[in-house]
């Protein structure tokens, strides 16, 4: 009883203290922003792009930032997040799905610290969520692939069969079929986000089986690099990978968190931060397409047009009618899939000749 009373008192005192400093703050320099990364910032992929966003906060606001990389999703994450909350960070970004429960738990204990969790769905007064509609970029990539493939076989290296990845495959194939109904996809699950050797081997297996376009939903440049060495085409993932594949990269689906991170840090400084859910697409700049290369001008024009239509809202990649593999109508003609369906997507669309691992 006493201990819990003490805790509450301390929390209340801390809250008042934070409020007092918070009122005087409104200075970007006083904002201290923390980042928790699931991988090394040297992965040239997911964590690397988040770290570019962190650097943008430092560059544009002059705010102090810090980060902890390669934090496993689990008990360690909670400790790292709590440590950050205790060391004077006012805003903490936790940048992987698996940090959802630890972030929620710590957010409850530190009501004065603002939390932002990437790709999750649990929110609170001091906990926002954000993610990007990468499937929009994948649709554009699909259109390009449909135009560029000669063997009509696309090789797809997946990480894990989670909705984010499945949605990407569906979106990509709808894009490809919109210009070339004969395209087939072969999917290999690497069961890892990050193992260059294995990702590369998966790409080799797909190319050996006739794929002449390489798509990946894993984090290292290895699959694209294999495409370059084998003389086929492919797409970069998370960041522009043109350096690894100057002759192979058609475009890359680039994660760009810079403007979002800067805006949120600024909001904390101004005291205008509010809990919200952001799912930004091409229109917000969160999803970027790297320069279109290694393709004829008409394909490039088509890709640009498709991206522009998606950005303006004129076209939604998941426009009905959409059937699943069992032939069941999931999205009616003229309607678009709602976000709930997209976020929980665990089925392939009709026409994909593969079985989704359960």
């Amino acid at each position: 009883m006493n201990a819990s009373f003490m805790k509450r008192t301390i929390a209340a005192v801390a809250a008042v203290g934070a409020l007092a400093t918070g009122m005087g703050a409104a200075q970007a320099e006083d904002v201290k922003v923390g980042f928790v990364y699931v991988g090394p910032i040297g992965d040239h992929g997911w964590s690397y792009r988040h770290d570019i966003g962190r650097q943008a906060i430092e560059a544009e606001l002059g705010a102090e930032t810090s980060y902890v990389e390669s934090v496993p999703e689990g008990a360690d994450a909670e400790r790292v997040i709590r440590q950050m909350a205790q060391t004077g960070h006012n805003l903490i970004f936790t940048t992987s799905f698996g940090y959802m429960n630890p972030t929620e738990k710590v957010a409850k204990q530190f009501p004065n610290v603002k939390f932002e969790h990437a790709t999750g769905y649990k929110r609170a007064d001091n906990l926002s969520t954000y993610a990007a509609r990468f499937y929009e970029g994948r649709y554009v990539a699909g259109v390009i692939a449909g135009k560029m493939t000669k063997s009509n076989i696309v090789g797809y290296v997946g990480s894990f069969p989670i909705p984010e990845v499945v949605r990407g495959i569906n979106s990509f194939m709808m894009g490809a079929w919109s210009v070339n109904p004969d395209v087939k996809v072969k999917i290999v699950w690497a069961n890892t986000w990050y193992d260059p050797g294995k990702e590369g081997d998966a790409a080799k297996a797909l190319i050996d089986q006739g794929a002449d376009i390489m798509v990946q939903h894993t984090d290292s440049p290895a699959p694209l690099q294999v495409a370059e060495n084998r003389g086929v085409l492919g797409f970069g993932q998370a960041s522009d990978m043109i350096k690894f594949a100057p002759k192979a990269q058609l475009t890359a689906i680039v994660d760009n968190w810079d403007s979002y991170y800067v805006a949120r840090a600024k909001a904390v400084a101004d005291g205008t931060w509010e809990s919200m859910d952001t799912w930004g697409g091409i229109n917000t700049g969160m999803v970027e397409l790297a320069p279109y290369t290694n393709m004829p001008d008409d394909v490039k024009a088509l890709a640009e047009e498709t991206a522009a239509k998606i950005a303006s809202g004129e076209f939604h990649p998941f426009t009905g009618p959409i059937y699943d593999q069992a032939g069941e109508l999931r999205v009616k003609e003229g309607e678009v899939a709602d976000d709930g369906m997209l976020l929980g997507m665990d089925w392939y669309i009709k026409g994909i000749d593969a079985e989704l691992p359960k």
């Binding site: 069961n191 890892t192 260059p196 050797g197 794929a211 290292s220 690099q225 350096k243």
Partner: protein
């Protein structure tokens, strides 16, 4: 059967780094030293090779740098465990952790660099022979080197006088010492050879297999190499077979998926490890056999003044 040749090529490349690192570790362990730092030495070799190749443009210099870096890492280990008699298991683990961090630190400047992969052997006429040509005569030289190293290690341990001395040191350091062999010096050399081969295995990853630098890019291959040595019961011939079997299983599962064979991919990913456990059980069931090959003094510190 069109896919067969590229399939075999992929298996060979997937097995090569394991083979290099494991044959080095085999020699180290045969001398009675258990160096669990293979993963760390491979990573340091990988970044050293990549950094030097990217800066100088010469892959040969890069490979030499990887070997030197691997040897330096193993010298840290050797100094701590052989001269200062620190615990080998703990020191080896520390070496791996150190290697992961150190390679990441040095490598942070090299993220996003691209280099040309090692050139493959090309003998006009012969490399173009169907099937045999690309498999036997179309690899880069580290692949040939890895096989030469295993054969060399096999010959060294079985036929050479120095190899017998090394095994004697690993089996009974006090006896070897009593006859007049320098246990510490021999163990130093064996550990350095292990470091050199681990560095080379790492360089194969960063220069040929996936020509780039990425943090922690060995992704556990150092640990597989360690398992392979036990799996092979310290025999070079079995090591060769084991490394190729590991490569085969890991590549086969990716091919099966691409071909639409509906086996759960998680199960397929598990297969190499399952195979190790099964083979270990089979081999270990014959106690006499495993005792015959396992270095009796493995992991024990040697104190000459007794």
């Amino acid at each position: 059967m069109e896919w067969l040749v590229p399939f075999i090529l992929t298996v060979i490349t997937a097995s090569t780094p394991l083979l290099l690192a494991a044959s080095g570790e085999l020699v180290t362990e045969k001398s009675g030293v258990l160096n669990l730092g293979v993963e760390g030495m491979m990573l340091v070799g990988a970044i050293a090779g990549f950094a030097v190749t990217a800066s100088s443009g010469s892959a040969i210099l890069g490979i030499l740098a990887a070997v030197v870096a691997g040897v330096l890492m193993s010298l840290i280990f050797a100094f701590l465990t052989l001269s200062l008699m620190a615990n080998q298991v703990a020191t080896g683990l520390a070496l791996t952790i150190f290697g992961i961090g150190f390679s990441a630190l040095v490598g942070s400047k090299f993220v996003g660099f691209a280099i040309d992969p090692l050139p493959a052997l090309s003998i006009p006429g012969i490399s173009a022979i169907p099937v045999i040509g690309p498999i036997l005569f179309g690899q880069d030289f580290l692949v040939y080197l890895s096989i030469a190293v295993v054969i060399g290690v096999g010959w060294f341990l079985a036929k050479s006088r120095a190899g017998l001395v090394l095994k004697a040191v690993g089996d009974s350091h006090h006896s070897a010492h009593a006859i007049g062999y320098s246990v510490i010096k021999i163990r130093y050399l064996a550990t350095m050879f292990g470091g050199a081969m681990a560095g080379l295995g790492g360089a194969y990853l960063s220069l040929s297999y996936t020509p780039m630098w990425a943090e922690n890019m060995t992704a556990g291959r150092g640990w597989i190499a360690l398992a392979l040595v036990v799996f092979a019961t310290w025999r070079p011939g079995r090591l060769l077979a084991g490394a190729y079997m590991f490569g085969l299983i890991s590549v086969m599962q990716l091919h099966a998926q691409g071909a639409g064979i509906h086996v759960p991919s998680q199960f397929m990913s598990m297969l190499p490890y399952l195979a190790t456990v099964i083979v270990l059980v089979i081999i270990s069931s014959d106690r006499a056999k495993i005792r015959l090959n396992a270095p009796a003094c493995i992991g024990q510190a040697f104190r000459p003044a007794q």
